[in-house]
Amino acid sequence: MTADIAAILAVDGIATGAIYALVAIGTVLIFTVTRVIFIPFGDIAAFTALTLAALDAKQLPGTVGLVVVLACMACLMEVTSLARAGELRAMPKAVLGYLVLPLVAVGIVWLAMRFNPPMQIRIVLALLLILPVAPLLDRIVFRPIADASVLLLLTVSVALHFALVGLGLMFFGPEGVRTEPLTSLALDIGDVHVPGQTVLILTAALVFSGLLFLFFDFTLLGKALRATAFNRTGARLMGIRPARAGTIAYLLGSLMAGVSGILIAPVNTIFYDSGFLIGLKAFVGAIVGGLVSYPGAALGAFGVGILESFASFESSTLKDVIVFSLLIPVLLWRSLATQHSEEEIEE
C-alpha cells in the first residue's frame, strides 16, 4: 500500500464514518432518553433517501402513505387511552399533535410537488415528510411499553425494524436509487482528490454534533432531556414529562437520520433494506462510546468507517467480519472497565 492509496482510503473512510457518526449520535440520543436501542434508525435514513429520489423523479413518495397510516394509528391509540383515563379535555391537543401536524406535513409536500420545486426545497420536503415517522412509531410501539426492560425494548425494536423493511418494500419497491450530487465541487489536497460531497458530509456531522452539544448544555429543553436520560423518576419529580422528552428525542433522531439519508443518497445506491447495515455499523460505533457518550460514539463511528475502508482494500471478502469482530474486544473492555449500577442488575 502506498501513501497515495492510504490517503484515498482514509478520505473514503472518513466520509463513510461521518454518516455512521450521525446515525450513531442519533442512536445514543434516543437510547439515553428512552432506553430504546432504536434499530430502525438506519431504515429511516434509507427511507429519506428513497423519498428524495421519488421527489426528484416527480413522483409522490411512498412515505406519504406511511405517514398517513402511522398518524391515524397513533391518533387512534392516543385518543383511546385518553378516553379510558377520562381526560377528555386533552383530546383536541392529542388530535392536533398526532394527526393534524403529520397530515399538514404531508399536505405541504403534496402541494409543493405541483410547483416543481428546486433541489434545496425538495430536500427540505423530504426531511419534513420523514420527521413525523420516528415520533409516531414511538407513540404506537414504544409508549405502551415504556417501563419495560431494555431487553424487551430491544426485541420490540428488532421486530419493528423487520416490519419497516416489509413496509419499505411495499411503499418504495425493490429497486435501488441514487440521487444527484448536492455539489460537484472538489478539493485537491496534495495528490488526494476530495469530492465536495465528502466535505459536505463531514461538515454536517460536525455541525450536528456541535449543535447537539449546545442544545444539551445551554437550553432548558436540552437539560430536561439530559435529566430524563439520567434518571426518569427523578426527572418526573422535577416536573419533566418523560413521554414528551421521548417525543423530542425521536424528533431530533428522525431529523438526524433524515440528514444522513440525504447525504448518503448521492454517494451510494440506497435500497429499501440498505438502512440496516448502516444502522448496525453505527451501532458498533455507538458501543465504543458505551451508548452514553456523544463524542465517544462519533469517534467510534469514524473509527468503524476508516477500519472498513482499509479492510475493504486488504481483504474485501472479510470486510464485514473485521468490522463486527471489533465489537468483541470493545465489549470485553467495557464490561471489565465499567461498574454496573443496581438498576441494571435488577433488569
Binding site: 451510494n268 435500497f271 475502508s309 474485501s316
Partner: protein, 382 residues
C-alpha cells in the same frame, strides 16, 4: 375479524371450486419480498406472460398457484412441500435465488414431482434420480462467452470485482476456468456486498494491478457500484459483465459510468435488433406482446423470459405426456419428467433447449449474444 374469516372462507371455496375444473396444476414459487425481490418480481411477471401466451395443453386447462418464498431457502422448501402435498401440483417452477432453488429441487426429488428451475444454479443433487432441469445459461457458459469476447478484443489482464455471495463465486470460478485454457489472466478477486456504501478500497486494489479490462460480477442495480467507482478513479479500459446486470435500474443508476459495458445475455434482451433469421426473434416478440398484455408493462429484463422458456418446455412436454397418463397421478409426474428430459432442439426466447437424463443444463453457445450498453440502451454486438 369475523368478516375477514368469512371472506377467507369464501375465497378458499372459490379456489377449491376452480380445482375441480382445472386439470394440470403448476406450482410456482418466486421471491416477491426479501433481497431477491428485485429479480423475483420479474420472474412472477414472466410466468403471468407465459400463462397468457399458452393457458392450456391439448384442451386441458392449466391452473397456476403462485407462492412467495421471501428469498428464504427454508420458506422455499416449505412452499414446495405445501404445493405438492396440499395442492397436488404436477410440476414445480421456481425460484429467484440459487439457494432457494436448490432447496426446492431437493423436495421435488424426494416427492417425485418434476421441477423446472429458473435460476442459474450449481451443486444440484446427484442426477442419478433426476426430477428437474435448469433453464438459464450456466454461469460458466455466461462467463466463457464474455471471455471469448475479451480475447477477441485483445484483452489479456482482467481485474475481477463481484458480489461476496454465491453469484460472485460463480462468475469468478467461471472466469478462472477460462483462464486455464484461454490465455487471459484474472488478476484480482475483490468482493463487495449489495448494501455496501463504498467500493473505493476494492477498486484501488483492482487498479493497482493495471488491468486491461474489468469484469463485473455483480447483479442488478448494485452491479453499477464498481463501474461508478472505476469512473471516479478515471479508469479508461473496457468493462465486461454478465446478463445479471441487465435491468433498467442498473442503466439508470450507472448512467455514463456504465456506458460501453459489454455483457453476455440471452437474445431476448435485444429481440428487436436480432436478424430475422435468428431463432429467437419471432418468439421473443410474441413473448413481449404477451408480457405487455398480462402485466400492462413493457418487458425489459431477461429474468421474466426464463419463466417463459420454462413454461414453454413444460407445455410441450406436457402435450406429449398427456398421451400416456392423466394429470394428478404419479404416472403423469413420471411421464412429464421423462418428456421434459426428452426435449430436443426446442427454441425458446433465450436458447435452443436440448435436455437429456444426467444433465441439468440443456443450452449451448447459441443461447448467448454479446450486447453493449450504448447511451443507455442495450445494443446487439454480433
Amino acid at each position: 375479524m369475523r368478516k375477514i374469516l368469512s371472506l377467507a372462507a369464501l375465497f378458499g371455496g372459490l379456489v377449491a371450486a376452480s380445482t375441480a375444473q382445472a386439470d394440470i396444476t403448476v406450482g410456482f414459487v418466486t421471491s416477491l419480498s426479501g433481497p431477491g425481490a428485485s429479480i423475483g418480481i420479474p420472474y412472477g411477471r414472466g410466468i403471468q406472460a407465459a400463462l397468457e401466451y399458452k393457458g392450456e395443453v391439448n384442451g386441458e386447462k392449466i391452473r397456476l398457484i403462485q407462492l412467495d418464498d421471501g428469498s428464504d431457502p427454508s420458506a422455499a422448501s416449505r412452499a414446495a412441500r405445501k404445493l405438492i402435498e396440499e395442492e397436488k401440483v404436477d410440476l414445480l417452477i421456481g425460484t429467484a435465488t440459487a439457494p432457494s432453488t436448490i432447496a426446492m429441487m431437493a423436495v421435488a426429488t424426494e416427492l417425485k414431482v418434476p421441477m423446472i428451475a429458473v435460476s442459474p444454479i450449481i451443486g444440484l443433487p446427484d442426477p442419478a434420480d433426476q426430477w428437474g432441469i435448469c433453464v438459464p445459461q450456466p454461469a460458466s457458459l455466461l462467463v466463457k462467452v464474455v471471455a471469448d469476447r475479451m480475447k477477441r478484443d485483445g484483452m489479456k489482464n482482467i481485474g475481477y470485482i463481484g458480489f461476496s455471495d454465491a453469484w460472485g463465486d460463480l462468475v469468478y470460478n467461471g472466469a478462472k476456468a477460462v483462464e486455464a485454457d484461454d490465455g487471459i489472466k484474472v488478476l484480482t478477486n475483490e468482493r463487495y456486498a449489495r448494501v455496501d456504501t463504498s467500493v473505493t478500497g476494492q477498486i484501488l486494489k483492482v487498479l493497482a494491478t493495471r488491468p486491461d479490462a474489468v469484469l463485473d460480477g455483480g447483479s442488478g442495480t448494485q452491479g453499477a457500484l464498481p463501474l461508478l467507482a472505476l469512473a471516479d478513479r478515471g479508469f479508461k479500459g473496457k468493462t465486461y459483465g454478465t446478463v445479471a446486470l441487465v435491468n433498467p435500474d442498473f442503466v439508470r443508476v450507472g448512467g455514463k459510468a456504465a456506458d460501453g459495458i459489454q455483457v453476455s445475455a440471452g437474445p431476448v434482451i435485444v429481440a428487436e435488433q436480432l436478424p430475422d433469421t435468428h431463432f429467437a426473434k419471432k418468439l421473443a416478440l410474441e413473448f413481449r406482446a404477451a408480457y405487455q398484455k398480462a402485466n400492462n408493462l413493457p418487458s425489459t429484463d431477461g429474468f421474466s423470459a426464463y419463466s417463459f422458456d420454462g413454461w414453454k418446455i413444460f407445455t410441450e412436454a406436457a402435450a406429449r405426456a398427456l398421451k400416456t397418463a392423466k394429470p394428478g397421478t404419479a404416472e403423469f409426474h413420471k411421464a412429464l419428467r421423462d418428456e421434459i428430459l426428452n426435449t430436443k432442439e426446442m427454441p425458446g426466447v433465450h436458447a435452443i433447449y436440448n435436455f437429456k437424463p444426467g444433465a441439468y443444463h440443456g443450452v449451448d453457445e447459441r443461447a448467448l449474444v454479446i450486447v453493449r450498453l450504448v447511451n443507455g440502451a442495450w445494443t446487439y454486438e454480433p
